[in-house]
């Protein structure tokens, strides 16, 4: 009997996994010898929809499976056992020998956090327990003392995966040390970095691992209630969490007297409502309490006064997902991965101009080059590597010459970027560095909660300056002006949003000042991105002579009749970009 798994996370579904699943269901409807089920994201987002066949100890994962390929898989693989080599991305035979086109993508990874993602059905608690799930909870609740749990986590050296890298065990010991009638465990699932989605993938692919991490934390610090603050943009993650919580309650892993240990713990999901600053923990607490999500002044720290003024421990999704593994395998096993000061693994979202975009989990200390070129397959369409952007709006651009930098909490900050949540956006020669800085400032300016003047108005002024530069209105003092503002905002902001908002600007000035100067002095955008500083042209190979752009151009700058090549008169063109948006054949380009 074969088991067929369809990857049904957000990435799979948006690539069409629902149709694939429905087609398989139809084809297998009168064949009870096969089991069709769903699973989470295995990380190969670039080959979604993915379908895995497990049969007699063998595994075959097929990529880009649309309804047509689904039929072929049923006809050939399920009927005769023939593996369809053309789109088998990963195979494993009964003796464990691995193969397939994308085998290196998976085998170069070490999966602790993603151990179950793409392997089990996230909606089935039984599949989770069959893989050793809830063993850690059992140990922490019935065998270990709270001190031993905190000790083990301290020993492991696990550092928070939410960005700042604070040692988790030490954080737990603070909350454990404060006496109160009620304490809380909070899971930060707000994942605000636009370009990172590992938390979503874990919640959708292995929700019980996060629940377990929270239960164990509750035991360790003496809390009986937990909140998961999940962004509302993740409906599937919320739905799977709800299923998981319900199942855990039924099996007695949540609720009163868990596993007969006398320990009570329950979890509630709180949906965010769309505010980036709510990822900051004190703002998150305010939001849980139903208020505007504005950061609060520290001290008092969350371990003293968090949600509802009670001692609270807040960790990131990925941090919690590490916990059960550490409890079962021990701190020293965890320390075998990663570096002395940043033990363990980290999940990275490889996106942007990269061949193999997806999620990859590697030991801390792996170099950017290994990630981008080794696992990620290099730059898309053979393009030229420029920088990687790490840490999203709080982070920075790490240029090509620093590509040997080990990715961990010690080395990344030295480049001016931050680890952040692990989003790695790979950029190539077509990306304008000034525009990237403008893009992030636009984001932070919009998301500033407005409490600190420097953050509210300072980011606005920086954005205006950057907008001037990208539209060719910049002047020579602008760079110094930006740096000056950046310093003020960093120093005078209350929370991490303002303190880090200037990073994208500072790093791009550090490494790509020549691009700023080209915009300001030469009125030229080297990446041919900023509309005001480029010329619009029509590609003769793509133009079909449909006259659409000729008719749409507001200043009659385009000539050419039906079935003739169209030409833009550069003297008349006002660079409004209308022709790019109206062409049906993508024939208009900037140069």
């Amino acid at each position: 009997m074969a088991k067929i798994l369809v990857g049904m996370s957000t990435c799979g579904l948006s690539a069409g996994a629902r149709d694939t699943y429905e087609e398989l269901k139809k084809l297998l409807s009168d064949d009870s010898s096969h089991e069709l089920t769903l699973t989470g994201c295995i990380g190969m987002c670039y080959r979604e929809p993915l379908v895995e066949i497990r049969d007699n100890g063998t595994r075959t994962i097929y990529g880009d499976v649309d309804a047509g390929r689904a039929r072929e898989i049923v006809d050939k693989h399920l009927a005769n056992g023939t593996v369809i080599e053309d789109y088998a991305v990963y195979t494993e035979d009964a003796s464990g020998r691995k193969g397939g086109a994308e085998e290196p993508f998976l085998t170069q990874q070490n999966r602790i956090v993603l151990r179950n993602c793409g392997v089990i059905n996230p909606e089935s608690i039984d599949e989770y327990t069959e893989r050793g799930g809830y063993e850690a909870t059992r140990r922490a609740l019935t065998v270990m003392t709270p001190e031993q749990v905190v000790g083990e986590i301290k020993e492991s050296g696990l550092r928070g995966r939410g960005g700042a890298g604070f040692p988790t065990g030490i954080k737990w010991s603070f909350a454990a040390g404060n006496d109160a009638d009620q304490k809380y465990v909070v899971c930060n699932a707000d994942e605000g970095d636009p370009g990172a989605f590992m938390d979503r993938s874990v919640l959708e692919g292995d929700p019980h691992a996060v629940l377990e991490g929270m239960i164990i934390c509750g035991k360790a610090i003496g809390a009986t209630f937990g909140y998961i603050y999940c962004r509302a943009e993740y409906p599937l993650a919320i739905a799977r969490l709800e299923i998981a919580i319900e199942a855990a309650r039924k099996k007695g892993y949540l609720g009163d007297d868990i596993l007969g240990s006398g320990f009570d713990f329950d979890i509630k999901i709180k949906q965010g409502a769309g505010a980036f600053v709510c990822g900051e923990e004190t703002a998150l607490f305010a939001s849980i309490e139903g208020e505007r999500g504005m950061p609060r002044i520290r001290p008092p720290f969350p371990a003293e006064q968090g949600v509802w003024g009670k001692p609270t421990n807040n960790n990131n999704v990925e941090t919690y997902a590490n916990i059960p593994w550490i409890i079962v395998n021990g701190a020293s096993a965890f320390r075998k991965y990663g570096t002395e000061k940043s033990p363990g693994t980290k999940v990275f979202a490889l996106v942007g101009k990269i061949e193999k975009g997806g999620l990859a989990e590697v030991p801390m200390g792996t170099s950017i080059e290994e990630l981008v070129f080794g696992i990620g397959g290099g730059i898309k369409d053979g393009g030229e590597f420029k920088p990687v952007q790490m840490g999203g709006p709080s982070g920075g651009c790490i240029p090509e010459h620093l590509k040997n930098t080990p990715v961990d909490f010690e080395h990344i900050p030295q480049t001016g970027a931050i680890m952040g949540s692990g989003g790695m956006v790979v950029l190539d020669a077509t990306t304008c560095m000034v525009d990237i800085a403008r893009f992030f400032l636009d984001f932070t300016q919009e998301e500033s909660c407005g409490k600190c003047t420097c953050c509210r108005i300072g980011t606005k002024r920086m954005l205006e300056t950057l907008e001037r530069i990208t539209t060719g209105e910049g002047n020579t003092e602008d760079i110094a002006h930006l740096q000056h503002l950046a310093q003020q905002i960093k120093q005078a902001s209350l929370c991490g949003l303002g303190q880090t908002a200037p990073n994208p600007v500072l790093t791009t000035i550090d490494y790509y000042e020549d691009e700023y100067i080209a915009h300001i002095s030469d009125k030229h955008c080297p990446a041919a991105n900023c509309s005001a500083l480029v010329s619009f042209n029509i590609d003769r190979d793509k133009c079909t002579g449909c006259t659409l752009c000729v008719r749409d151009c507001p200043v009659d700058a385009i000539s050419g009749g039906k079935k003739q090549f169209h030409v833009i008169d550069q003297g008349k063109c006002v660079k409004c970009g209308k022709c790019i948006t109206s062409c049906n054949f993508d024939a208009v380009y900037k140069a």
Partner: protein
């Protein structure tokens, strides 16, 4: 399954003064009405004993909440980092031009509302957008226009058929 209306009414009725329920109440009101109408603010303010101004303050803080009705088809164009470098700004221009509205605007016929969002979580399909629950990836301007026009045609056809009573 509870209907959305019942859910909102039920939540109001069940509300027992527990703190922290303001945002969930607003979310359920928006689920029910499609936006947060004036009267929902009044109900919620009354039941939770929170001044209307405070409720309004919370609504305007969070980008999820809407004070105006939304179009039948909600377009969410991803403007996350990966989509930005893959050409989302051009797509935004295209959508603005095709629909004749700015961000957060609703077309006059009430068919479309245009939103931009930060990362839909399918960066490997960048640039991407969602129209209601459907995701469209690896987009180019022409394809965006065709998609919108197709929906518009279908809606017009439906409206015409309803008018003649088919």
């Amino acid at each position: 399954m509870k209907t959305k209306e019942a859910d909102f009414a039920y939540r109001l009725w069940r509300y027992d003064g527990a703190p922290g329920e303001l945002i969930p109440l607003l979310q359920s009101a928006q689920d029910h009405f499609g936006y947060i109408p004036r009267r929902a603010i009044r109900y919620i303010s009354g039941v939770t004993n929170t001044p209307e101004s405070t409720v309004y303050g919370v609504i305007t803080f969070y980008s999820q909440f809407r004070l105006q009705p939304m179009g039948k088809h909600q377009i969410r164009l991803c403007c996350g980092t990966a989509c930005h470098v893959a050409g989302a700004p051009t797509l935004l221009d295209t959508l603005r031009d095709e629909l004749g509205v700015e961000e957060n605007g609703t077309t006059e016929d009430g068919l479309f509302t245009l939103f931009t969002v930060a990362c839909l979580g399918c960066c490997s399909l960048a640039p991407a957008m969602m129209i209601n629950d459907e995701t469209y990836g690896k987009l180019a301007p022409g394809q965006v226009r065709r998609t919108i026009r197709k929906i518009r045609r279908q809606e017009n056809k439906k409206a015409a058929m309803e008018e003649v009573g088919v």
